[in-house]
Subunit: 684 residues, 2 copies
């Protein structure tokens, strides 16, 4: 089936690409002016720095050359950084950017490529970093060798805050895994790594002042302060800020394991193994809480150089505050009517501490309160509405609603979310300036170092484009075409979103022979939103292996998307006979796949839950073939066939083993068409 599919893709995408400049850039630059011809990247290629230079700039060019050599298979003796002003590729930065990148620094650049040479110029080293990534994405294989097209690109970001949150609390993520994801972030021009460092399930940063935070709250899985510094330097070298988050007063059980005196109820506490919103919260009525936080935030403010300090502030259910008479008395004494008021009081106290240590506070929507100073930043997980509300009150904000990678949405759905849309669309120009950008969020309930990359990539790239490129860049088909190339291109950076897939399937199959399992895995997706938790056969915990097909399957099935497009195209023009043969080939393979998978059923316990999914695939493909047959013969199916088949497809479309068979909707279209469905019926 894959060979067939590939042949099909070739025939439809090559002509389509020919109509647009075949540039696989993501994010798309602000302006591209194509020239004539190309510059060949051969042994004569070298890079030079003109004017201002500094170690970071040199490091950026060296890293660029390393990736370029990898892409082109060039030995390390070639494509070097030279002192020669006649280098083929000259890089010019007006000045260094800040040692630690800061919000709002100039990231613009200009890249000019002729058939003879190339020049990248930028106001700062930061702009050079962005432009170097663009250059790498331009490299293509041509009949003459590796080359970049002659062109002029002038580019700058739309938003100054373009981030990715990785939750390292629920599942610990080792430093090298974070680092390769920072490489990916830099490649798509993101500039903020939001490090979610503490939660109920773990406290992940060494504190020298409070060693029991990790000593008792981390299971031994945490970053030393040296490692934190290493990661910050790694990020800074790539023009990425690191914003730490220490979630408080809720999401804080892990703090209480070592320091129960911080909590609103007596301990002892244990590291939480389950997922969800839990009752424990800090005690906002005790001065010792603020003394602790003052010391802790002071220590962390020294460790994390970024101006912004994230205190979380989300999902405090208030149950323990209600249950504690002393806290109730405190509320009454301070005229705090609700728990929201109490949290606002807490936030004001913490804001003063954060501010005292030279930082600016950032927190989730819930912190929004008029008593906080307007220099704070609100991160909205609830929608553009709260962002707009904040902006109107003079607060700055970033959007994360719509960018939750753990919800397993297709890229197009994230891509459609714009920080300036919805309620934010009606802001005045001054108010609109308060919206700084957005952050994708990778919450890690179902994420391990093995599958993290596949949950982040490639879907992060379109979100990065949303935050970098012009708001008019919204063509979904064009996005997907570039995304498929970008996804593969990211492999050169060492990201494992593609490469970890076959080993995970081999583990599930208990065998090296995964052809049949892969055919099935290619057409399923994990259930969406919070369905995994809601439909879990056993209550999920951090002790559970992430070794099921739901953990290996891609959040978005490319095969499913292609098949849907093929069905649509063929229904629109049924005379296209090759398309029909391709559809038939795919459907035949799917129908017969269960018989190929069956011999493995008895080998591996991990396959057993998948068998019903595989049987559904046979049913669904059989229905598709029947529909194709009726359509081909121009024959009217028997009475009741359509309704019975649609009912069966409805069943097969339901989640099984927490997986969705993504070809069902397209097959339903075929059945509708075969059964004489109206065009309206086709549009579903």
């Amino acid at each position: 089936m894959r060979a067939l599919l590939m042949a099909f893709l070739l025939s439809v995408t090559v002509p389509a690409l020919a109509q647009q400049p075949a540039l696989n850039l993501m994010p798309l630059p602000a302006s591209i002016q194509l020239g004539a011809g190309q510059m060949i990247l051969d042994a004569s290629f070298s890079a030079g720095i003109n004017g201002h230079s500094d170690p970071r700039l040199e490091g950026s060019v060296e890293r660029f050359l390393t990736v370029l050599r990898r892409q082109t298979g060039t030995p390390p003796l070639l494509m070097r950084l030279t002192g020669d002003p006649q280098a083929k590729f000259v890089v010019e930065a007006g000045q260094a950017n800040r040692l630690v990148p800061e919000l709002g620094e100039d990231e613009s650049y200009r890249l000019e490529i002729t058939t003879n040479n190339a020049k990248l110029s930028a106001a700062t080293t930061l702009g050079v970093m962005r432009g170097l990534e663009t250059f790498l994405q331009l490299v293509e294989s041509t009949p003459q060798g590796f080359a970049v097209p002659a062109l002029t690109i002038v580019d700058r970001p739309r938003f100054p805050w373009r981030g990715l949150l990785i939750d390292v609390a629920r599942h610990f993520i080792p430093l090298d895994v974070l680092e390769r994801n920072l490489d990916g972030m830099a490649a798509v021009k993101l500039n903020v790594f939001h490090w979610h460092l503490s939660d109920n399930q773990g406290f992940r940063v060494e504190s020298k002042k409070f060693p029991k935070l990790t000593g008792m709250g981390s299971d031994g899985f945490y970053y030393t302060q040296d490692q934190v510094r290493e990661l910050i330097a790694y990020a800074a070298a790539r023009g990425i800020r690191v914003v730490p988050e220490f979630d408080m007063p809720g999401h804080s059980t892990a703090w209480f394991v070592g320091y129960p005196e911080l909590a609103s109820a007596p301990g002892p506490y244990q590291i939480e193994r389950k997922w969800g919103v839990f009752d424990p919260a800090m005690d906002p009525s005790e001065e010792r809480t603020y003394r602790f936080l003052d010391k802790f935030i002071g220590e962390m403010s020294g460790l994390f150089p970024d101006r912004y300090f994230h205190i979380g502030g989300d999902e405090v259910n208030g149950k323990w505050w209600d249950a504690n008479p002393k806290i109730q008395a405190f509320k009454r004494a301070h005229g705090l009517k609700t728990n929201q008021d109490l949290q606002a009081y807490f936030n004001q106290r913490v804001e003063k501490i954060v501010s005292k240590h030279g930082k600016i506070l950032i927190g989730w929507d819930e912190i929004l309160h008029p008593d906080l100073p307007t220099n704070i930043v609100v991160q909205s997980w609830r929608g553009q509405e709260s962002l707009a509300q904040a902006a109107k009150q003079g607060f700055r904000g970033i959007l994360s609603y719509g960018y939750y990678l753990d919800l397993m949405w297709p890229a197009a759905r994230h891509y459609a979310v714009d920080p300036m849309s919805g309620a934010a669309a009606n802001l005045s120009p001054e108010e609109a300036e308060h919206i700084l950008g957005g952050e994708a969020c990778m919450w890690s309930e179902y994420v391990s170092p093995e599958n993290l990359d596949s949950r982040i990539w490639p879907r992060l790239a379109p979100i990065a484009e949303r935050l970098w490129s012009a708001p008019s860049v919204v063509d979904v088909n064009f996005m997907y075409r570039r995304l498929e190339v970008t996804s593969r291109w990211l492999d050169w950076l060492g990201l494992t979103h593609n490469s970890s897939y076959p080993p995970m399937l081999r583990r599930i199959a208990g065998s090296d022979q995964i052809a049949a399992l892969r055919t099935l895995a290619d057409v399923v997706e994990p259930v969406k939103d919070y369905t995994r938790e809601e439909t879990a056969p056993l209550e999920p915990t951090s002790l559970m292996p992430l070794d099921r097909l739901i953990d290996a399957a891609r959040p978005e099935s490319a095969t499913g998307r292609h098949f849907g497009a093929m069905v649509d195209a063929w229904l629109a023009d049924p005379a296209a006979a090759p398309a029909k043969e391709q559809l038939r080939g795919m459907l035949n393979e799917w129908r017969d796949n269960q018989s190929s998978l069956q011999p493995f059923e008895t080998q591996s316990f991990l396959l057993q839950e998948i068998i019903p999914v595989s049987q559904n695939l046979t049913r669904v493909a059989t229905a598709g073939l029947e529909a194709l047959g009726y359509l081909e013969r121009g024959e009217r199916p028997a009475e009741g066939w359509k309704s019975q088949t649609l009912a069966a497809l409805g069943d097969a479309g339901k989640a099984q083993a927490q997986l969705l068979l993504v070809i069902v909707p397209a097959i339903e279209k075929l059945v509708e068409a075969a059964g004489g469905g109206s065009p309206a019926g086709l549009s579903r």
Copy 2:
């Protein structure tokens, strides 16, 4: 085709495996006694150390658990090392092994697994390391979960010296790449990493006494002394010795770039970019040569703790000695008749230096000379003959002849080479004891960090088996069956021999759509022995990219091997109709593959040399289909068909783009059979 092939493999290998214990161990242990049932590896699994413990032993168990968790997808909170003596898996070492592993230390172990628990006991930590690797290879997926079979294994190595040489001089190999290969070595129980650190093309170790060695002789690609210490510690933690080689008096141009006074002719010198045997050699007639070597070897003896110090000594052509009147006069003055005598004089001088610094000298065959002390070790690249000769003279020896991985031999050919065969078979028991083992050699003319693993693995595993397992373990089919599983299993260690293949093909195709290229790549092999050099269109150098199909193609095509076996099986029993359909399916895909590849021809310059290979594949497959048709119909082909077809196949079987189409011999068998060839004709 792959789906077809997989289905076929399934049907033939599963019953075959059922006849033998389905243990995929490589190397095969000295003794296996299968028990009943299995031990399930679930959340209750933990490991404990009983009796003697030390950090290295703990580290070994921790590393074991890390790989076990990776194999089984277990979260890091489970499968831990506990202090509990009731742990499911108890490890016992009688004592620590030496801090730096030494030749001849006890590596034996005993592994007992019951349905309830497992115990590994060994005389030393070294034996524990070997046994832990065996345990990992026993893990399999079962209907009940991951498990290891109940059994008792008693194991010990056949030879005490089991090594791999990696040449880091011709192409520099970064430390992390070496380290993952050390993981692989440990997995197949190899115990010597022979680090070929200097050659004409580069000097790769920092010398503080002679900084120009790397300052001028390395292009900036070398290991610092800290990195060397890191690698030695990494190896020691895995029970692997590190033997450094500094090749002298030949293969030494890189030394002369910084220190021309060492050479037999005045400089200046440049780092050599070409491959082969070159004229420059050290001046054995000058005392300053020995003073330099005394200081240098003294420094390196402190850096490298192993008792053995390799001085190379191979391939001195003597031309510059002949051309230097002073050296000629020296020879006459010392009664040295030949250049061999002169080199023997040099070796004796160097041996005294090496010995003075507490080391034992090892060198290639050429150093063998009765005037050297008998404690030295001879490494034979020329055959068992010189090994036997050395043993008879009282020297110890190791075999590398027959284990050159760069010659692109199939695994079976390496596997057939036994250090004790040939001339060595006739040694007396005392003499035979002088043969310590062997070393595979990875010379790096055509090796980059990207394809190194694929040149070493999986073919190193059968060589490791030859050196560890009993000499009676020679069944090639059984070896290949285990090798396929071992190759995939090694993926868990991070080796890239499998994972680097698709990205390299994508680079060649200049596209993500590599299905057709892969079908072709799967049935070609690089030319063998030194043919690549001999038939190179341009003289190869270290500046050339290693980005062609010859660099990506596997040294041994599994598809070719399987196809050959299928043809043999079907010709032996032509009534087996499914086999015929599978053959036809494969041949059809190969015949049609060029039409799938063709659209890419014009895209990528790297594809262009491959097109004739692809066209040959079409021709060859067409011939195979014709033969199949005649055989199926029982029809006699037309006069001349057989001879014409065989002639055409002979052409298609010749190297093209330095690649061999490996299915040609099997197709020739089909043509012979269809043309009425005799059984003798079939056996070719």
